[in-house]
Each structure stands twice: as C-alpha cells, then as structure tokens.
Symmetry: C2
Subunit: 318 residues, 2 copies
C-alpha cells in the first residue's frame, strides 16, 4: 500500500506492506486523514518518531468483528496495555506501555490501511460526513478543556492562537455562557470566528492584559506560554496545549508570583466530539482549506505549514 513515511526529518511516499490486524485489532481502510500541528512538529524532530505519520482519520473497517465490519469509524490514538498502574487506575490514555497512532511506536493513518485495537474505534453517526468525522480527534482535544475548568457566566476566558486547534476550542467554548475572546494574529481565521459571532481580538490590539480568569494556549508556538502568562489574572488558570520540537527559554516566575495554575492538556473525549458533530454544534467544514490525494502527501504537508491554510485533508484511497 502507499504510505507517507517520516524518517529523520524527511518525508516520503513509499510502498509499505499492508498491515495485518492482530488479535483484538481491526483493519481499517482509511478514507480521509487530517494533517495537524503535531505532524508538522514530528517532521521537525518532535518525539523522535519514525514510520507512517498521521493520527486524525475516518475510515471503514474491512477486517474485524461483525459490529464494526463495513462500518465507518474514527479511532482513539492511544493503544494501551490494560494492565499497568495507569490503566488499572482509570488513566489508560497515560498507559506506561502505550503506543500512539502515528506518534509513538505505531504506524499512522497517512496510508491506505491502518490497524487499531477494536476498543479504540468509535462508530461515526450517519449524519456526520467523512470530512466532518476526520475532525473528531482534535475536537475531542478541544472538549477536554471543559473537563479542566469550571465555566461560569462571569468567567473571562481567552483562547490564544486561531489555528486548527484554537478554532475548535473557541467554537466549543462559544456554546457556553462565558466571556470568551479568541486572540490571534491571522486576519483570515479571526474573520472566520467573527462570522460566527465569536468575539475576537488581534493580539496587537488586545487590551485586557492580566485580567483573564482562564487562558487556553493553542498557539503551537513557544511564544504562546509567555503571552498566556501576561493575559491571565493572578490566581487564574492557563491550559497549555502546545508541544514543540525545541525547548525554549521560559521565565516561569510569573507563574509562581501570580500563583497561576498551568494545566497540560492533550487528548479528550471522543463521545463529546462525535455528539457535537452530529448535532452540528461545531462547524468544521469552513476550516477545510484543501483536500488532496495521499499521492500528493509531501506537498500537502508543506501546505499545512503555511498559515494561509487551515486544515488540509488527505484522501487516502483515491
């Protein structure tokens, strides 16, 4: 099968053997895959991953149990042992022996086929298109924010970064009564939120420094955290979403002096995301800049790194 492989910072389209589903696993024919910031960071060296890239997808089960066969599925990315201290204490997404789809020790979805444990699969509701379903994983990560903060009408909350993840987080929060501002640099994506009647501010015009109860850092840049520390009020909360390939100098003094809570945030609840897509509560369609065939995957990754594009999708079986 064709697959997009990363090896020591180089990306190439290769012929790879079609994978075989082990016991408890299903074989999935990948319909669409999404390119995300983590993929771009992995290409820069983040995590030292080598192999087939990609972890956001929707596909059809071709080998698996009756309940899943020929069904459209999306899949949780952490493949876990079920026996370690994390798994047995309800924290299986932090399994000590986990592999992570296209990120750590497991081939990803920028390929014609992929295998995944059966228990990782979620059926896609009929009313959700493939192009929508491919956003389930990042949208779940956006919904995770709701599990980390207490949201009240009076809560002032800034989402910084209006890239792929920031656009989702802002839309999730906009469903709830709170004082939300999406802060970014890119007029194009700010405008996209404006049209959804979400209050936005260009970072150069932001004026409520040191006043936000909560700041959700979705910039994908090492500059995000210092910015978040300037925005949040004393005793406020920052949710940190960005992982970068390169460690950068960060002066965490404001965190101590202002007694800020900094909460790391990674994956989230697929059920919340699929429910929101089915109820059309979050618009992902307007985030799709381009759909390209897997054969053009190398070019697609370059496009995804260009801030003039938001989401690039790969059609993996065209």
């Amino acid at each position: 099968m064709r697959a997009l492989v990363v090896d020591s910072g180089k990306l190439s389209l290769r012929d790879e053997p079609t994978p075989t589903a082990s016991a408890g696993e299903v074989l999935i024919k990948v319909s669409l895959a999404g390119i995300c910031a983590t993929d771009l960071e992995i290409l820069k060296g983040y995590g030292g991953f080598k192999g087939i890239l990609g972890h956001e997808f929707v596909g059809v089960v071709t080998i698996g149990p009756d309940a899943l066969i020929n069904k459209r599925v999306v899949g949780e990315i952490n493949c876990v042992c079920g026996r370690c201290d994390m798994c047995t204490s309800g924290l299986s997404s932090h399994c000590r022996r986990r592999t992570v789809l296209g990120i750590q020790g497991r081939p990803g979805v920028f390929a014609e086929f992929v295998t995944l444990p059966e228990r990782n699969c979620h059926l896609v509701p009929d009313g959700v298109t493939d192009a929508e379903a491919v956003f389930t994983e990042p949208l779940a990560a956006a919904y995770q924010v709701l599990r980390q903060i207490k949201l009240e009408t009076k809560t002032s909350i800034a989402v910084i970064g209006t890239g792929r993840l920031g656009l989702l987080v802002a839309q999730v929060l906009a469903q709830f009564p709170c004082r939300l501002t999406a802060v970014g640099r890119n007029p194009r994506t700010l405008d996209l939120l404006d049209r959804k009647r979400i209050r936005t501010s260009n970072v150069t015009e932001f004026s409520h420094w040191g006043e936000q109860d909560v700041v959700i850092e979705c910039t994908g840049s090492p500059e995000g955290l210092p910015l978040a520390m300037r925005m949040v009020r004393p005793k406020g909360t920052i949710i940190l979403k960005t992982t970068c390939a390169t460690p950068t100098p960060a002066d965490l003094t404001p965190l101590v002096v202002n007694e800020i809570s900094l909460l790391g945030s990674r994956c989230g609840p697929f059920s919340d995301a699929l429910g929101a897509l089915a109820r059309k509560q979050v618009d992902v369609q307007s985030m799709i800049s381009k759909q390209m065939p897997l054969s053009e995957g190398v070019a697609a990754m370059s496009l995804a790194a260009d801030p003039n594009h938001i989401k690039i999708l790969l059609a993996c079986n065209t």
Copy 2:
C-alpha cells in the same frame, strides 16, 4: 538607623533615615530577621529591587495603636490598596498596586526599624520565641501547599530540595498521613529530616520516577522543574515554589503529554504558621545555622548562599 541596602547587585550597610509610620501603619523595632533564597535572588537581580532588603522578621511595635504597642509581631509582606479588582475579590495578596516588604517598592526588614500597615501585623503567641517567630513567613508559604492539594493516606508526595523552604514543607506534610519522601542532594539537611523520621532520598538514589502523585518543587534552582516533571506521575500535580533571577530553557512538553497540573505557589496563611509554632508541630530551631548582628549583614548574606548553612538570622538591634 543602620540598614542593609541592595542597589544594582551590590549590598552595603548604610545609615538610612528611620522611617515614619503613615496613617494605618505601625513602626516596628526589628528584633530578628531571616535571610531567605529570595533575598539572594534579589541580590542577583531578581525583580530589579533597590532598597533595604529583607522580609522575614519578628519585632516589637514602638508606634501604633494600643492593641499592638510594645507587643511582639510578625508581618505579612504584601501591602495592599484594598480597592482594586484583586482586593475586592478576596485576592488581596495579588493587589494590583501592592508593595512587598523588601521585595517590591517598600523598604525591608534588614534594618533597625520598619513600617508596615497595622492590618499586616500578627501578634506572636507567648510560647513562641523570637528565633521561632522569624520563621512565620516561610512557614506560612509551606502551609500554603496544604491549600493547593488534596492529601490522602495513599497520596505519594515528594518534596524536592531540602533547603530552607523544603525543610519546612517536609515537616508540614509529615504531620499528615501520606506517602512522603523528601528528596535532596545535601547529606546534612537530609540527615536533619531523617532524625525526624521523615523518609528521605538522595536524588542520585531516587528510584520512583514518574510515580509521585504530587511533587513540591522547593529546589531554588532552574533544574528543579525538569526534575519534578520526571518524578510526577501522568495527571499528577507539581507545586512550583522556585523563583529564579535568570530565565532558563525549559521543555514543557512532558507537562502537556502527561497532562500535569503545575501550580505556582507563593505566600501562605500566617495563622496556620503561628499556630504550628505555638503547638511546637514544626521544629525550626534545628534549622538555624547562625545568628549574626545586622552590622555583619554583608557577610551573613554570603554565608546564607553557602549550602553548608541553612538559616542565617540577623539580630537587628544589638
């Protein structure tokens, strides 16, 4: 009066005018003052403070209301406006217009006299000696930890750094049933905790990496946070106490990937600290390495920077 003044990284003993208490303030004759890591960082440039250094003290009120006159007091270090959004929302220690004793915009206690708002003063209980009372401020900062975490019998908790603050935090936590380990490098201070039957580990022999529910970072060093991130379990909590003069590269990726909560922690409840000192629940006496007169303040600061010493006290009116 004599005072120890910091100016652009230089420390000197000077003659300064004795301060005058404004409305709502008291004049305090400083009996003893304590040298802490923050004083040493300020000398290195932290916060850009210029003026009389020092914020840990016990003294006697010489000008003030009847209830305080001739009484022994300790004092909270944040002097607040009472009117800003922080003050009116119960977060007065984060007052937008605050001055901080010997740290920010207000002369400190390494002097014969100091002024402080009356409401900042706490009477020292009779059973508490001056040498004990001078630990109230750092002990309050140690007690703050209890307000930031939920402590259960099964909670595994590591205090890293067995310097001035770490020794206090370890003693505070040791009063409660939990799985506590104090982790440090200094055999002398580790031994001090061993003798109190607190479990200790030299960091070179520590083996429970990635397993601690809570890590309290009291190292006073930029190396503390990376160490804490290696010690804490996924979804665990780090309380960050260290403020350093120099920002240093920190790779916060583990925070995101392992969804760790990092909580900044600064001041704490004086009432808890004074209560513990009165009930002899925390031994501070064994932490005093030396008491020196204010006239030897410059030498005392050098001694305080030497890891062979723990707490250096200054007798300010001898």
